[in-house]
């Protein structure tokens, strides 16, 4: 494999993804990422000179909604998704602010 993911990189990606990985999981993730990057290298062999970057697979533009309120108050249903709730709000661990 051409690409090598360092311990620092996998540590950093873990922090960004808020994941705590065991030593074994880190090694597995490193291998996965390396093969993904190798695949990207393969794609990079293509000559894309003069080709506009594509952001979407379909040739469709301008899909809009009109500005009309149609949603009703469904807070009871929505709050069923909260692991914990209090006074109709989602209850989460304390944030810094």
């Amino acid at each position: 494999m051409a690409n090598v993911i360092s311990d620092e990189t996998i540590e950093y990606v873990g922090i960004l993804a808020k994941l705590e990985l065991s030593g074994e999981e880190k090694e597995k993730a490193k291998k996965d990422m390396e093969s993904m990057l190798d695949y990207v290298d393969k794609l990079n062999e293509l000559d894309t000179e003069g080709v506009e970057p594509m952001s979407h697979v379909f040739k469709v533009n301008n899909v809009f909604r009109e500005d009309v309120v149609t949603n009703e108050d469904t807070h009871e249903l929505i709050l069923k998704n909260a692991p914990q709730q209090k006074e109709n709000q989602f209850k989460v661990p304390k944030t810094f602010d």
Binding site: F58, F64, N88, K91, T95, D97
Partner: protein, 479 residues
Amino acid sequence: MEKEYETVIGLEVHVELATKTKIFCSCSTEFGGAPNTHTCPVCTGMPGSLPVLNRQVVEYAIAVGLATNCDITQYCKFDRKNYFYPDNPQNYQISQLYLPICRNGHVEIEVNGSKKNVGIHEIHMEEDAGKLIHDEWEDCTLVDYNRSGVPLIEIVSEPDMRNAEEVIAYLEKLRTTIQYLGASDCKLQEGSMRADVNLSVREVGSDKFGTRTEMKNLNSFKAIARAIKGERERQIELIEEGKKVVQETRRWDDNKEYSYAMRSKEDAQDYRYFPEPDLVPIFIDSDWLKRVKAAQPELREEKLLRYEKEYDIPRDDALIITESRKMADIFEETTKLCGDAKKTANWLIGETMRLVKENEMDVADISFSPENLAKLIKIVSKGEINNIVAKEVFEEIFKNDIDPEKYVEEKGLKSVNDEGTLKEVIQKIVDENPKSVEDYKNGKKKAIGFLVGQTMKAMKGKADPAAVNKILGEILNAV
């Protein structure tokens, strides 16, 4: 010799757009609803839900871009900004990084009589986050997602400002322009307009920028002015001590008048933006642009010029009237109905502004109709009521939008201009006050004021002062 420093300031201004629904779902954007009553699977980030863009958001963004001399990016799209925080249920914010809808604009500001352009780097569309409330009892955080997905535009300026006065002039300019467009109410206190200040200092004459910090939590013009002063001093102190300014986000505490670093170093600012796959690109063709341009209302600068020319209103008065579109609309409508621009201007600048201040209101909340103010101006001009009564009637118009003609009729407030009645009353006052008459005869011209006052009192304020003065003069001179 002591070194002289220059402050370099750029602003990131977030504005909540005045749409009825959120940017990507049909939930209401109404402010102040009970927690989570304006939410759905889209704005709470439920797996499998898909965003659909609100057309009105694009319309408002284009309108603001055109009014601030920006180039509109005809082919633009959204990007995903990834970060974990409970105010953001998707774990990403849909925003624009690579192709923001507006770029390369500017607005003109005026400080102490000198004009200057402040560049606008870009304006992009994005979604607002939910509201976090700290729960003291359980030492946890509660989240209300009513604000999650409310449409925002972020206006990023160039680092073109050098002091707090310029910053405030720039913010006021943006606020008036956006209010005129009807794109937002721009209330700093309620958070529908929020400004982050990027500030660095450098030695005067240097052409390199110093290291900048970003300050958040500024919710009034006064707080912004204090924060700029405080942060400038903090940075100069660091430099003078031979220390380095660290590029970081700081939170301004307006009570302590000091800013505090907000994010720790371990908390990496790496947003890993990528094109938003759930939304298709936006193509703004020239027809669409033309349509928005044509619908653009007359903005403040144009009104100022027209008011001086068309209505012969002094610039200082025109500045007060055009400060908000609401006031300007009332002025134009009333003038059209009563045909007297000067009197309309006087009522608005004088009594209306006095009552707005007295009631601690916002001009936008004025609710009387131009029809009733126009009627009042007409009946005063006809001499049907005098100025004192008119002010009382106006207070009723201001408060309850009453019809002044009916009100004057019902309350019997019409001036008595019938000479016979007036003469009778005045003669009686003159007879009852021989001392004042004597004073007047002896050259104390002021004594006439007392007699006018007594007459007005006897008439319960309903006499025309000009007529009273005239008749009183005649009677006194005949004594």
